[in-house]
Amino acid sequence: MTARHVVAEMLVWIGVALILIACVGMVILRSAYDRLHFSSPAILGVMFVAASVVVKESFSLIGNKSILIAVLVLLGSPLITQASGRVARIREWGDWRLADDEKVEVEER
């Protein structure tokens, strides 16, 4: 067992653990706003798994494609999170902007 193999295994398990934590969080939390927070550990998990493939395979075809997947997820997930949050607010309040009767404390500087 080489050092490269050990590092790849360690990275893949860190990545899988992060994704599984996000999956469990989805069941525990009920609201869409709360659930949206769990996209971040999942993105990090995909990046760890992609990194483990690169560590094992170096920059081969598989390594490069796993980097491409990580980049797609890294760029796509925040987009989905932001769009979901926006739609959730529109469905709840009719507009995504702060409503007049909404009680939110804003600190003036």
Binding site: V16, R30, A42, V49, I69, I80
Partner: protein
């Protein structure tokens, strides 16, 4: 069993809570769970590629990553238009 295959199995099992979460509540509450299930599937395809040394699996992962993004955005668009 290699650790890649074990990781794939763990990720496929991770899709079960996502499925449960997606079926509870309204469609907007289920959307984050749906997109996380997509992430699980993409990552499982990466690890399956390494487990079986079959390159086509990672091609599926690339296609799924692109389609999952497009599909989720289309879903969100229709939900916004619904009101």
């Amino acid at each position: 069993m290699s650790f890649w295959l074990a990781a794939s199995l763990a990720l496929v099992c991770g899709m079960v809570p996502c499925l449960i979460a997606a079926t509870r509540g309204d469609e907007l509450d289920g959307l984050p769970a749906l997109s996380l299930a997509g992430v699980c599937a993409i990552t499982a395809l990466i690890t399956l590629t390494e487990a079986f040394h079959r390159q086509p699996f990672i091609d599926l992962g690339v296609v799924l990553a692109a389609l999952s993004l497009g599909g989720s955005l289309a879903f969100i668009r229709f939900m916004g238009r619904d009101r």
